[in-house]
Protein backbone atom coordinates (compact mmCIF):
# COMPACT_ATOMS: atom_id res chain seq x y z
CA UNK A 1 0.00 0.00 0.00
CA UNK A 2 2.65 2.47 1.08
CA UNK A 3 4.92 1.44 -1.78
CA UNK A 4 2.19 2.11 -4.32
CA UNK A 5 1.61 5.51 -2.76
CA UNK A 6 5.32 6.32 -2.92
CA UNK A 7 5.50 5.30 -6.56
CA UNK A 8 2.43 7.37 -7.35
CA UNK A 9 3.74 10.51 -5.67
CA UNK A 10 6.85 11.16 -7.78
CA UNK A 11 4.75 10.78 -10.91
CA UNK A 12 2.30 13.32 -9.53
CA UNK A 13 5.09 15.64 -8.49
CA UNK A 14 6.78 15.49 -11.88
CA UNK A 15 3.43 16.06 -13.54
CA UNK A 16 2.73 19.02 -11.30
CA UNK A 17 6.12 20.59 -11.83
CA UNK A 18 5.86 20.20 -15.58
CA UNK A 19 2.39 21.72 -15.58
CA UNK A 20 3.69 24.48 -13.34
CA UNK A 21 6.46 25.14 -15.85
CA UNK A 22 3.92 25.10 -18.65
CA UNK A 23 1.65 27.43 -16.70
CA UNK A 24 4.54 29.80 -16.03
CA UNK A 25 5.40 29.82 -19.70
CA UNK A 26 1.76 30.39 -20.59
CA UNK A 27 1.48 33.26 -18.12
CA UNK A 28 4.67 34.84 -19.47
CA UNK A 29 3.57 34.47 -23.07
CA UNK A 30 0.12 35.82 -22.21
CA UNK A 31 1.69 38.80 -20.49
CA UNK A 32 3.89 39.49 -23.47
CA UNK A 33 0.94 39.03 -25.84
CA UNK A 34 -1.18 41.43 -23.79
CA UNK A 35 1.55 44.02 -23.82
CA UNK A 36 1.95 43.61 -27.54
CA UNK A 37 -1.78 43.83 -28.24
CA UNK A 38 -2.16 46.96 -26.14
CA UNK A 39 0.84 48.47 -27.91
CA UNK A 40 -0.45 47.52 -31.34
CA UNK A 41 -3.28 49.97 -30.84
CA UNK A 42 -0.73 52.74 -30.52
CA UNK A 43 1.51 51.41 -33.25
CA UNK A 44 0.70 54.28 -35.54
CA UNK A 45 2.55 56.68 -33.23
CA UNK A 46 6.22 55.66 -33.12
CA UNK A 47 8.44 56.78 -30.29
CA UNK A 48 9.95 60.23 -30.80
CA UNK A 49 13.55 59.43 -29.96
CA UNK A 50 14.63 63.02 -30.45
CA UNK A 51 12.46 64.43 -27.68
CA UNK A 52 13.99 65.39 -24.34
CA UNK A 53 11.30 63.46 -22.49
CA UNK A 54 12.41 60.18 -24.03
CA UNK A 55 16.02 60.95 -23.24
CA UNK A 56 15.12 61.65 -19.63
CA UNK A 57 13.16 58.41 -19.37
CA UNK A 58 16.08 56.49 -20.84
CA UNK A 59 18.65 58.23 -18.66
CA UNK A 60 16.79 57.34 -15.47
CA UNK A 61 16.43 53.72 -16.58
CA UNK A 62 20.09 53.64 -17.52
CA UNK A 63 21.14 55.00 -14.13
CA UNK A 64 19.03 52.37 -12.38
CA UNK A 65 20.56 49.60 -14.44
CA UNK A 66 24.09 50.92 -13.96
CA UNK A 67 23.65 51.07 -10.21
CA UNK A 68 22.65 47.42 -10.23
CA UNK A 69 25.61 46.52 -12.41
CA UNK A 70 27.90 48.33 -10.01
CA UNK A 71 26.46 46.74 -6.88
CA UNK A 72 26.56 43.23 -8.35
CA UNK A 73 30.29 42.97 -8.96
CA UNK A 74 33.20 44.98 -7.69
CA UNK A 75 34.33 46.00 -11.16
CA UNK A 76 31.68 46.51 -13.86
CA UNK A 77 33.08 45.35 -17.19
CA UNK A 78 32.36 47.55 -20.23
CA UNK A 79 30.52 44.67 -21.84
CA UNK A 80 28.06 44.50 -18.95
CA UNK A 81 27.61 48.26 -19.08
CA UNK A 82 26.88 48.02 -22.80
CA UNK A 83 24.38 45.20 -22.26
CA UNK A 84 22.65 47.14 -19.48
CA UNK A 85 22.47 50.21 -21.73
CA UNK A 86 20.96 48.13 -24.55
CA UNK A 87 18.40 46.58 -22.22
CA UNK A 88 17.43 50.01 -20.87
CA UNK A 89 17.04 51.22 -24.45
CA UNK A 90 14.86 48.24 -25.34
CA UNK A 91 12.71 48.81 -22.26
CA UNK A 92 12.23 52.46 -23.18
CA UNK A 93 10.94 51.30 -26.56
CA UNK A 94 8.03 49.64 -24.72
CA UNK A 95 8.03 46.58 -26.95
CA UNK A 96 6.70 48.35 -30.02
CA UNK A 97 9.59 47.37 -32.23
CA UNK A 98 11.07 44.00 -33.14
CA UNK A 99 14.63 44.95 -32.24
CA UNK A 100 13.64 45.98 -28.72
CA UNK A 101 11.75 42.74 -28.13
CA UNK A 102 14.67 40.75 -29.55
CA UNK A 103 17.13 42.44 -27.19
CA UNK A 104 14.96 41.69 -24.16
CA UNK A 105 14.23 38.07 -25.07
CA UNK A 106 17.79 37.33 -26.12
CA UNK A 107 19.00 37.57 -22.51
CA UNK A 108 16.70 34.74 -21.49
CA UNK A 109 17.58 32.69 -24.55
CA UNK A 110 21.30 33.02 -23.90
CA UNK A 111 20.90 31.80 -20.34
CA UNK A 112 18.94 28.68 -21.26
CA UNK A 113 20.45 27.82 -24.63
CA UNK A 114 24.12 28.14 -23.69
CA UNK A 115 24.25 24.50 -22.60
CA UNK A 116 22.35 23.30 -25.66
CA UNK A 117 24.71 25.13 -28.01
CA UNK A 118 27.76 23.54 -26.47
CA UNK A 119 26.20 20.09 -26.91
CA UNK A 120 25.34 20.85 -30.55
CA UNK A 121 28.89 22.02 -31.30
CA UNK A 122 30.32 18.86 -29.79
CA UNK A 123 28.03 16.73 -31.92
CA UNK A 124 29.07 18.55 -35.08
CA UNK A 125 32.74 18.03 -34.33
CA UNK A 126 32.19 14.33 -33.65
CA UNK A 127 30.29 13.77 -36.88
CA UNK A 128 32.88 15.58 -38.97
CA UNK A 129 35.68 13.54 -37.44
CA UNK A 130 33.81 10.26 -37.83
CA UNK A 131 32.80 10.84 -41.45
CA UNK A 132 36.17 12.25 -42.42
CA UNK A 133 34.58 14.29 -45.18
CA UNK A 134 35.05 17.64 -43.46
CA UNK A 135 37.20 19.03 -46.27
CA UNK A 136 34.70 18.27 -49.00
CA UNK A 137 31.90 19.62 -46.83
CA UNK A 138 33.76 22.86 -46.33
CA UNK A 139 34.47 23.20 -50.03
CA UNK A 140 30.85 22.59 -50.97
CA UNK A 141 29.71 25.15 -48.38
CA UNK A 142 32.08 27.74 -49.75
CA UNK A 143 30.86 27.06 -53.29
CA UNK A 144 27.26 27.53 -52.23
CA UNK A 145 28.05 30.81 -50.52
CA UNK A 146 29.87 32.12 -53.59
CA UNK A 147 26.96 31.28 -55.86
CA UNK A 148 24.57 33.03 -53.53
CA UNK A 149 26.59 36.21 -53.38
CA UNK A 150 26.82 36.34 -57.18
CA UNK A 151 23.16 35.64 -57.88
CA UNK A 152 21.83 38.18 -55.39
CA UNK A 153 21.85 41.74 -56.62
CA UNK A 154 23.63 44.39 -54.58
CA UNK A 155 20.44 45.80 -53.08
CA UNK A 156 19.34 42.44 -51.65
CA UNK A 157 22.83 41.81 -50.31
CA UNK A 158 22.84 45.14 -48.50
CA UNK A 159 19.45 44.41 -46.99
CA UNK A 160 20.79 41.09 -45.71
CA UNK A 161 23.76 42.81 -44.12
CA UNK A 162 21.46 45.40 -42.57
CA UNK A 163 19.17 42.70 -41.22
CA UNK A 164 22.13 41.17 -39.40
CA UNK A 165 23.07 44.52 -37.86
CA UNK A 166 19.62 45.27 -36.48
CA UNK A 167 18.77 42.81 -33.69
CA UNK A 168 15.83 40.51 -34.32
CA UNK A 169 15.56 41.12 -38.06
CA UNK A 170 17.55 38.27 -39.56
CA UNK A 171 14.61 36.51 -41.17
CA UNK A 172 12.32 39.47 -41.74
CA UNK A 173 11.21 40.64 -45.20
CA UNK A 174 12.73 43.75 -46.70
CA UNK A 175 10.22 46.47 -45.77
CA UNK A 176 10.23 45.26 -42.16
CA UNK A 177 14.02 45.45 -42.03
CA UNK A 178 14.03 48.99 -43.42
CA UNK A 179 11.37 50.13 -41.00
CA UNK A 180 13.12 48.58 -38.01
CA UNK A 181 16.39 50.14 -39.13
CA UNK A 182 14.94 53.66 -39.14
CA UNK A 183 13.65 53.29 -35.58
CA UNK A 184 16.84 51.54 -34.45
CA UNK A 185 19.08 54.32 -35.78
CA UNK A 186 17.02 56.99 -34.02
CA UNK A 187 17.15 54.99 -30.79
CA UNK A 188 20.91 54.46 -31.06
CA UNK A 189 21.45 58.19 -31.60
CA UNK A 190 19.49 58.92 -28.44
CA UNK A 191 21.48 56.27 -26.59
CA UNK A 192 24.73 57.97 -27.64
CA UNK A 193 23.42 61.38 -26.54
CA UNK A 194 22.24 60.09 -23.15
CA UNK A 195 25.39 58.08 -22.42
CA UNK A 196 27.74 60.89 -23.38
CA UNK A 197 25.76 63.33 -21.21
CA UNK A 198 25.98 60.87 -18.31
CA UNK A 199 29.71 60.38 -18.88
CA UNK A 200 30.18 64.14 -18.84
CA UNK A 201 28.26 64.43 -15.58
CA UNK A 202 30.26 61.67 -13.92
CA UNK A 203 33.59 63.00 -15.13
CA UNK A 204 32.74 66.53 -13.97
CA UNK A 205 31.53 65.31 -10.59
CA UNK A 206 34.57 63.09 -10.27
CA UNK A 207 37.01 65.90 -10.99
CA UNK A 208 35.18 68.35 -8.71
CA UNK A 209 35.10 65.90 -5.80
CA UNK A 210 38.84 65.29 -6.09
CA UNK A 211 39.55 69.02 -5.62
Amino acid sequence: MSSSLMSANPALNSGRSSTRRRNKKKIQSHAIAENLSSNDQHQNSPIEWKSDAQQQIYSSKLLQALRQVRNGDGSPAPKRVHEAADRALATTAKGRTRWSRAILTNRLKLKFMKKNNIVKRQRKVMTSISTGNSRSQRKSKVKILRLKSKSLPAFQRKVRVLSRLVPGCRKQPMPVVLEEATDYIAALEMQVRAMSALAELLSVSGSSSSH
Binding site: V81, A154, F155, P175, Y184, M195, L198, G206
Partner: protein, 91 residues
Protein backbone atom coordinates in the same frame (compact mmCIF):
# COMPACT_ATOMS: atom_id res chain seq x y z
CA UNK B 1 14.18 48.24 -61.68
CA UNK B 2 12.49 45.55 -63.76
CA UNK B 3 14.29 42.84 -61.80
CA UNK B 4 13.00 44.34 -58.59
CA UNK B 5 9.43 44.30 -59.87
CA UNK B 6 9.63 40.65 -60.88
CA UNK B 7 10.96 39.82 -57.45
CA UNK B 8 8.12 41.64 -55.73
CA UNK B 9 5.63 39.61 -57.74
CA UNK B 10 7.21 36.41 -56.49
CA UNK B 11 7.13 37.81 -52.94
CA UNK B 12 3.96 35.92 -52.18
CA UNK B 13 0.79 37.13 -50.58
CA UNK B 14 2.07 40.63 -49.66
CA UNK B 15 2.96 42.71 -52.72
CA UNK B 16 5.87 44.95 -51.92
CA UNK B 17 5.60 47.88 -54.29
CA UNK B 18 8.51 49.92 -55.50
CA UNK B 19 6.91 53.02 -54.05
CA UNK B 20 6.88 51.44 -50.61
CA UNK B 21 10.54 50.59 -50.88
CA UNK B 22 11.44 54.04 -52.18
CA UNK B 23 9.48 55.65 -49.37
CA UNK B 24 11.30 53.59 -46.73
CA UNK B 25 14.67 54.22 -48.33
CA UNK B 26 14.04 57.97 -48.44
CA UNK B 27 13.10 57.90 -44.76
CA UNK B 28 16.40 56.15 -44.03
CA UNK B 29 18.27 58.68 -46.10
CA UNK B 30 16.84 61.53 -44.04
CA UNK B 31 18.26 59.97 -40.90
CA UNK B 32 21.77 59.63 -42.24
CA UNK B 33 24.18 62.32 -41.10
CA UNK B 34 25.17 63.43 -44.57
CA UNK B 35 25.68 67.00 -45.65
CA UNK B 36 24.08 66.15 -48.98
CA UNK B 37 20.95 64.87 -47.31
CA UNK B 38 18.92 67.87 -48.40
CA UNK B 39 19.41 66.90 -52.00
CA UNK B 40 17.13 63.86 -51.89
CA UNK B 41 16.74 61.45 -54.82
CA UNK B 42 20.38 61.97 -55.68
CA UNK B 43 21.54 58.82 -53.91
CA UNK B 44 20.81 55.36 -55.21
CA UNK B 45 19.05 52.98 -52.87
CA UNK B 46 22.10 50.74 -52.69
CA UNK B 47 24.28 53.62 -51.55
CA UNK B 48 21.75 54.63 -48.92
CA UNK B 49 21.74 51.06 -47.59
CA UNK B 50 25.52 50.91 -47.57
CA UNK B 51 25.74 54.17 -45.64
CA UNK B 52 23.04 52.98 -43.26
CA UNK B 53 25.07 49.87 -42.45
CA UNK B 54 28.21 51.95 -41.95
CA UNK B 55 26.33 54.42 -39.76
CA UNK B 56 24.86 51.69 -37.55
CA UNK B 57 28.32 50.15 -37.16
CA UNK B 58 29.81 53.50 -36.20
CA UNK B 59 26.99 54.08 -33.69
CA UNK B 60 27.68 50.66 -32.18
CA UNK B 61 31.35 51.57 -31.85
CA UNK B 62 30.45 54.88 -30.21
CA UNK B 63 28.26 53.10 -27.68
CA UNK B 64 31.12 50.65 -27.05
CA UNK B 65 33.54 53.48 -26.35
CA UNK B 66 31.02 55.27 -24.16
CA UNK B 67 30.30 52.14 -22.15
CA UNK B 68 34.04 51.65 -21.60
CA UNK B 69 34.32 55.23 -20.42
CA UNK B 70 31.27 54.82 -18.19
CA UNK B 71 32.62 51.63 -16.64
CA UNK B 72 35.87 53.41 -15.78
CA UNK B 73 34.01 56.37 -14.34
CA UNK B 74 31.72 54.14 -12.31
CA UNK B 75 34.70 52.37 -10.81
CA UNK B 76 36.20 55.62 -9.64
CA UNK B 77 33.00 57.32 -8.51
CA UNK B 78 32.53 57.08 -4.80
CA UNK B 79 28.91 58.04 -4.48
CA UNK B 80 26.35 57.30 -7.13
CA UNK B 81 23.47 58.84 -5.26
CA UNK B 82 24.90 62.33 -5.53
CA UNK B 83 25.28 61.79 -9.26
CA UNK B 84 21.67 60.65 -9.53
CA UNK B 85 20.38 63.76 -7.77
CA UNK B 86 22.64 65.98 -9.81
CA UNK B 87 21.58 64.40 -13.08
CA UNK B 88 17.92 64.73 -12.18
CA UNK B 89 18.35 68.39 -11.33
CA UNK B 90 20.34 69.14 -14.45
CA UNK B 91 17.73 67.63 -16.75
Amino acid sequence: MSSRRSRSRHAGSSRITDDQINDLVSKLQQLLPEMHNRRSDKKSATKVLQETCNYIRSLHREVDDLSERLSELLENADTTQADLIRSLIMQ
